[in-house]
Symmetry: C2
Subunit: 159 residues, 2 copies
Protein backbone atom coordinates (compact mmCIF):
# COMPACT_ATOMS: atom_id res chain seq x y z
CA UNK A 1 0.00 0.00 0.00
CA UNK A 2 1.23 3.48 -0.82
CA UNK A 3 1.14 6.32 1.71
CA UNK A 4 -1.87 7.69 -0.16
CA UNK A 5 -3.72 4.37 -0.05
CA UNK A 6 -3.00 4.03 3.67
CA UNK A 7 -4.46 7.45 4.37
CA UNK A 8 -7.40 6.82 2.12
CA UNK A 9 -8.19 3.75 4.22
CA UNK A 10 -7.72 5.54 7.55
CA UNK A 11 -9.94 8.46 6.54
CA UNK A 12 -12.74 6.46 4.95
CA UNK A 13 -12.75 3.73 7.61
CA UNK A 14 -13.40 6.47 10.17
CA UNK A 15 -16.09 8.14 8.05
CA UNK A 16 -17.88 4.90 7.23
CA UNK A 17 -17.67 3.60 10.80
CA UNK A 18 -19.07 6.89 12.08
CA UNK A 19 -22.01 6.71 9.67
CA UNK A 20 -22.58 3.13 10.81
CA UNK A 21 -22.46 4.26 14.47
CA UNK A 22 -25.06 6.91 13.67
CA UNK A 23 -27.29 4.46 11.78
CA UNK A 24 -27.20 1.94 14.61
CA UNK A 25 -28.06 4.62 17.12
CA UNK A 26 -30.93 6.01 14.99
CA UNK A 27 -32.32 2.49 14.72
CA UNK A 28 -32.37 2.23 18.50
CA UNK A 29 -34.21 5.52 18.97
CA UNK A 30 -37.95 5.71 18.32
CA UNK A 31 -39.54 8.60 16.40
CA UNK A 32 -41.04 9.71 19.70
CA UNK A 33 -37.65 9.72 21.42
CA UNK A 34 -36.12 11.76 18.59
CA UNK A 35 -38.79 14.40 19.19
CA UNK A 36 -37.41 14.92 22.72
CA UNK A 37 -34.84 17.52 23.76
CA UNK A 38 -31.43 15.91 24.29
CA UNK A 39 -30.99 17.89 27.51
CA UNK A 40 -33.46 20.33 29.07
CA UNK A 41 -33.82 23.37 26.81
CA UNK A 42 -31.39 22.00 24.19
CA UNK A 43 -31.88 20.78 20.62
CA UNK A 44 -34.22 17.91 19.90
CA UNK A 45 -33.02 14.70 18.26
CA UNK A 46 -35.08 15.67 15.20
CA UNK A 47 -33.10 18.89 14.81
CA UNK A 48 -29.73 17.15 15.13
CA UNK A 49 -30.71 14.63 12.46
CA UNK A 50 -31.90 17.38 10.10
CA UNK A 51 -28.72 19.32 10.82
CA UNK A 52 -26.53 16.33 9.91
CA UNK A 53 -28.38 15.89 6.61
CA UNK A 54 -28.00 19.61 5.82
CA UNK A 55 -24.26 19.52 6.59
CA UNK A 56 -23.71 16.37 4.54
CA UNK A 57 -25.63 17.97 1.68
CA UNK A 58 -23.12 20.81 1.75
CA UNK A 59 -20.37 18.24 1.31
CA UNK A 60 -21.63 17.50 -2.19
CA UNK A 61 -21.06 21.14 -3.12
CA UNK A 62 -17.70 21.37 -1.36
CA UNK A 63 -16.54 18.19 -3.09
CA UNK A 64 -17.74 19.40 -6.50
CA UNK A 65 -20.11 16.45 -6.78
CA UNK A 66 -23.24 18.27 -7.83
CA UNK A 67 -26.11 20.02 -6.13
CA UNK A 68 -27.63 19.47 -2.71
CA UNK A 69 -30.26 16.76 -2.50
CA UNK A 70 -32.33 18.53 0.17
CA UNK A 71 -31.67 22.29 -0.20
CA UNK A 72 -34.88 22.98 1.73
CA UNK A 73 -33.15 21.77 4.92
CA UNK A 74 -30.48 24.49 4.81
CA UNK A 75 -32.61 27.23 6.32
CA UNK A 76 -34.38 25.33 9.12
CA UNK A 77 -31.46 23.10 10.19
CA UNK A 78 -28.38 25.24 9.54
CA UNK A 79 -29.49 28.85 9.72
CA UNK A 80 -32.34 28.67 12.21
CA UNK A 81 -32.24 27.39 15.78
CA UNK A 82 -34.38 24.47 16.87
CA UNK A 83 -37.96 25.22 17.87
CA UNK A 84 -38.07 28.48 15.89
CA UNK A 85 -39.35 27.09 12.58
CA UNK A 86 -42.76 25.59 11.86
CA UNK A 87 -43.60 22.80 9.44
CA UNK A 88 -40.35 20.86 9.78
CA UNK A 89 -40.18 17.45 8.11
CA UNK A 90 -41.22 14.58 10.38
CA UNK A 91 -38.70 12.21 11.94
CA UNK A 92 -39.89 9.54 9.49
CA UNK A 93 -39.20 11.83 6.53
CA UNK A 94 -35.76 12.75 7.87
CA UNK A 95 -34.91 9.08 8.37
CA UNK A 96 -35.73 8.45 4.71
CA UNK A 97 -33.68 11.50 3.60
CA UNK A 98 -30.74 10.31 5.70
CA UNK A 99 -30.82 6.82 4.24
CA UNK A 100 -31.12 8.09 0.67
CA UNK A 101 -28.37 10.66 1.18
CA UNK A 102 -25.98 8.10 2.71
CA UNK A 103 -26.49 5.85 -0.33
CA UNK A 104 -25.88 8.71 -2.80
CA UNK A 105 -22.80 9.94 -0.94
CA UNK A 106 -21.36 6.41 -0.78
CA UNK A 107 -21.85 5.99 -4.52
CA UNK A 108 -20.30 9.35 -5.37
CA UNK A 109 -17.40 8.87 -2.95
CA UNK A 110 -16.58 5.44 -4.38
CA UNK A 111 -16.35 6.92 -7.88
CA UNK A 112 -13.25 8.94 -6.90
CA UNK A 113 -9.75 7.46 -6.88
CA UNK A 114 -7.49 8.14 -3.87
CA UNK A 115 -5.45 10.74 -5.80
CA UNK A 116 -8.61 12.69 -6.64
CA UNK A 117 -9.18 13.26 -2.92
CA UNK A 118 -5.88 15.19 -2.90
CA UNK A 119 -7.46 17.82 -5.16
CA UNK A 120 -8.78 21.09 -3.82
CA UNK A 121 -12.30 21.46 -2.51
CA UNK A 122 -14.55 24.17 -3.92
CA UNK A 123 -14.32 26.71 -1.10
CA UNK A 124 -10.59 27.29 -1.55
CA UNK A 125 -9.18 29.24 -4.50
CA UNK A 126 -6.54 27.70 -6.79
CA UNK A 127 -4.16 30.39 -5.58
CA UNK A 128 -4.65 29.59 -1.90
CA UNK A 129 -4.58 25.86 -2.56
CA UNK A 130 -1.14 26.17 -4.13
CA UNK A 131 0.09 27.50 -0.79
CA UNK A 132 -2.13 25.31 1.41
CA UNK A 133 -2.39 21.90 -0.27
CA UNK A 134 -3.90 20.34 2.86
CA UNK A 135 -7.18 22.09 2.00
CA UNK A 136 -8.08 19.12 -0.15
CA UNK A 137 -11.12 16.87 -0.43
CA UNK A 138 -9.81 14.47 2.21
CA UNK A 139 -9.91 17.38 4.63
CA UNK A 140 -13.66 17.72 4.09
CA UNK A 141 -14.17 14.08 5.04
CA UNK A 142 -11.94 14.41 8.12
CA UNK A 143 -13.68 17.52 9.44
CA UNK A 144 -17.17 16.21 8.74
CA UNK A 145 -16.33 12.93 10.47
CA UNK A 146 -15.48 14.81 13.67
CA UNK A 147 -18.63 16.93 13.22
CA UNK A 148 -20.69 13.75 12.89
CA UNK A 149 -19.14 12.22 16.03
CA UNK A 150 -19.80 15.44 17.97
CA UNK A 151 -23.50 15.05 17.26
CA UNK A 152 -23.54 11.26 17.74
CA UNK A 153 -22.25 11.98 21.25
CA UNK A 154 -25.32 14.14 21.77
CA UNK A 155 -27.87 11.78 20.18
CA UNK A 156 -26.45 8.98 22.35
CA UNK A 157 -27.88 10.79 25.39
CA UNK A 158 -31.41 10.03 24.16
CA UNK A 159 -30.88 6.30 24.75
CA UNK B 1 4.62 19.44 0.59
CA UNK B 2 4.72 15.67 0.20
CA UNK B 3 1.61 13.50 0.54
CA UNK B 4 2.86 12.49 3.98
CA UNK B 5 3.35 16.11 5.08
CA UNK B 6 -0.12 17.02 3.83
CA UNK B 7 -1.70 14.23 5.85
CA UNK B 8 0.38 15.05 8.87
CA UNK B 9 -1.02 18.57 8.74
CA UNK B 10 -4.63 17.44 8.21
CA UNK B 11 -4.50 14.96 11.09
CA UNK B 12 -2.73 17.19 13.60
CA UNK B 13 -4.69 20.31 12.70
CA UNK B 14 -7.85 18.38 13.56
CA UNK B 15 -6.39 16.97 16.80
CA UNK B 16 -5.01 20.31 17.98
CA UNK B 17 -8.15 22.22 17.04
CA UNK B 18 -10.27 19.67 18.90
CA UNK B 19 -8.12 20.02 22.02
CA UNK B 20 -8.47 23.78 21.72
CA UNK B 21 -12.27 23.45 21.34
CA UNK B 22 -12.31 21.34 24.50
CA UNK B 23 -10.10 23.79 26.42
CA UNK B 24 -12.26 26.75 25.44
CA UNK B 25 -15.38 24.91 26.50
CA UNK B 26 -13.88 23.82 29.83
CA UNK B 27 -12.92 27.43 30.49
CA UNK B 28 -16.53 28.47 30.00
CA UNK B 29 -17.90 25.84 32.41
CA UNK B 30 -17.61 26.39 36.16
CA UNK B 31 -16.56 23.60 38.53
CA UNK B 32 -20.13 23.57 39.81
CA UNK B 33 -21.51 23.14 36.27
CA UNK B 34 -19.11 20.27 35.58
CA UNK B 35 -20.52 18.47 38.64
CA UNK B 36 -23.94 18.39 36.96
CA UNK B 37 -25.33 15.55 34.84
CA UNK B 38 -25.19 16.40 31.13
CA UNK B 39 -28.73 15.08 30.69
CA UNK B 40 -31.01 13.63 33.38
CA UNK B 41 -29.53 10.36 34.66
CA UNK B 42 -26.49 10.57 32.36
CA UNK B 43 -22.77 11.13 33.04
CA UNK B 44 -21.63 14.24 34.83
CA UNK B 45 -19.20 16.69 33.22
CA UNK B 46 -16.63 15.62 35.82
CA UNK B 47 -16.83 12.01 34.61
CA UNK B 48 -16.46 12.96 30.94
CA UNK B 49 -13.37 15.04 31.74
CA UNK B 50 -11.82 12.21 33.77
CA UNK B 51 -12.69 9.79 30.97
CA UNK B 52 -10.95 11.94 28.35
CA UNK B 53 -7.79 12.11 30.50
CA UNK B 54 -7.85 8.32 30.99
CA UNK B 55 -8.27 7.71 27.24
CA UNK B 56 -5.50 10.16 26.34
CA UNK B 57 -3.25 8.49 28.90
CA UNK B 58 -3.75 5.23 27.04
CA UNK B 59 -2.52 6.97 23.89
CA UNK B 60 0.94 7.24 25.44
CA UNK B 61 1.06 3.45 25.75
CA UNK B 62 -0.42 2.83 22.29
CA UNK B 63 2.06 5.25 20.74
CA UNK B 64 5.00 3.68 22.60
CA UNK B 65 5.74 6.96 24.33
CA UNK B 66 6.10 5.71 27.88
CA UNK B 67 3.80 5.07 30.81
CA UNK B 68 0.51 6.64 31.72
CA UNK B 69 0.69 9.85 33.70
CA UNK B 70 -2.48 9.19 35.71
CA UNK B 71 -2.93 5.38 35.88
CA UNK B 72 -5.23 5.84 38.89
CA UNK B 73 -7.89 7.26 36.54
CA UNK B 74 -8.17 4.04 34.52
CA UNK B 75 -10.45 2.22 36.95
CA UNK B 76 -12.89 5.01 37.92
CA UNK B 77 -13.15 6.69 34.48
CA UNK B 78 -12.78 3.81 32.02
CA UNK B 79 -13.87 0.66 33.82
CA UNK B 80 -16.47 2.01 36.22
CA UNK B 81 -19.63 3.94 35.39
CA UNK B 82 -20.20 7.43 36.73
CA UNK B 83 -21.63 7.75 40.23
CA UNK B 84 -20.48 4.24 41.26
CA UNK B 85 -17.05 5.18 42.64
CA UNK B 86 -16.29 7.24 45.74
CA UNK B 87 -13.39 9.60 46.30
CA UNK B 88 -12.99 10.76 42.71
CA UNK B 89 -10.59 13.64 42.05
CA UNK B 90 -12.21 17.07 42.19
CA UNK B 91 -12.97 19.07 39.05
CA UNK B 92 -10.08 21.37 39.99
CA UNK B 93 -7.67 18.43 40.17
CA UNK B 94 -8.91 17.04 36.85
CA UNK B 95 -8.48 20.44 35.20
CA UNK B 96 -4.86 20.49 36.36
CA UNK B 97 -4.30 16.90 35.14
CA UNK B 98 -5.83 17.78 31.75
CA UNK B 99 -3.62 20.82 31.31
CA UNK B 100 -0.49 18.95 32.34
CA UNK B 101 -1.32 15.97 30.13
CA UNK B 102 -2.03 18.17 27.09
CA UNK B 103 1.39 19.80 27.52
CA UNK B 104 3.17 16.45 27.84
CA UNK B 105 1.35 14.94 24.86
CA UNK B 106 2.12 18.01 22.72
CA UNK B 107 5.80 17.77 23.61
CA UNK B 108 5.99 14.04 22.88
CA UNK B 109 4.00 14.34 19.66
CA UNK B 110 6.23 17.11 18.36
CA UNK B 111 9.29 14.94 18.89
CA UNK B 112 8.14 12.52 16.16
CA UNK B 113 8.75 13.13 12.47
CA UNK B 114 5.88 12.58 10.01
CA UNK B 115 7.33 9.25 8.82
CA UNK B 116 7.43 7.93 12.38
CA UNK B 117 3.64 8.29 12.57
CA UNK B 118 3.45 5.71 9.77
CA UNK B 119 4.92 3.10 12.14
CA UNK B 120 2.77 0.55 13.92
CA UNK B 121 1.13 1.27 17.24
CA UNK B 122 1.69 -1.10 20.16
CA UNK B 123 -1.62 -2.97 20.08
CA UNK B 124 -1.01 -4.46 16.63
CA UNK B 125 1.53 -7.25 16.04
CA UNK B 126 4.33 -6.85 13.48
CA UNK B 127 2.73 -9.70 11.54
CA UNK B 128 -0.70 -8.08 11.38
CA UNK B 129 0.81 -4.69 10.65
CA UNK B 130 2.56 -6.10 7.57
CA UNK B 131 -0.91 -6.94 6.21
CA UNK B 132 -2.71 -3.90 7.63
CA UNK B 133 -0.32 -0.93 7.41
CA UNK B 134 -3.14 1.53 8.14
CA UNK B 135 -2.97 0.44 11.79
CA UNK B 136 -0.28 3.02 12.35
CA UNK B 137 0.25 5.79 14.88
CA UNK B 138 -1.66 8.33 12.76
CA UNK B 139 -4.68 6.07 13.13
CA UNK B 140 -4.54 6.48 16.92
CA UNK B 141 -4.68 10.27 16.54
CA UNK B 142 -7.55 10.07 14.04
CA UNK B 143 -9.69 7.77 16.19
CA UNK B 144 -8.97 9.69 19.41
CA UNK B 145 -9.86 12.97 17.69
CA UNK B 146 -13.32 11.63 16.84
CA UNK B 147 -13.62 10.24 20.39
CA UNK B 148 -12.76 13.67 21.77
CA UNK B 149 -15.32 15.41 19.55
CA UNK B 150 -18.00 12.90 20.59
CA UNK B 151 -17.51 13.97 24.19
CA UNK B 152 -17.12 17.70 23.40
CA UNK B 153 -20.59 17.43 21.83
CA UNK B 154 -21.84 16.18 25.19
CA UNK B 155 -19.96 18.69 27.37
CA UNK B 156 -21.33 21.46 25.15
CA UNK B 157 -24.80 20.70 26.49
CA UNK B 158 -23.72 21.96 29.92
CA UNK B 159 -23.39 25.50 28.58
Amino acid sequence: MTTLEIFYKIVFDRWNTSLKNCDNLLNELSDETLMREIAPGKNRGLYVLGHLIAVHDDMLVLLDMGNKIYPELHEPFLKAADKTVENLPSVGELRAFWKNQCAILAQKFESLQPEQWMEKHTSVSAEDFAKEPHRNKFNIIVTRTTHLQYHIGQLRLLK
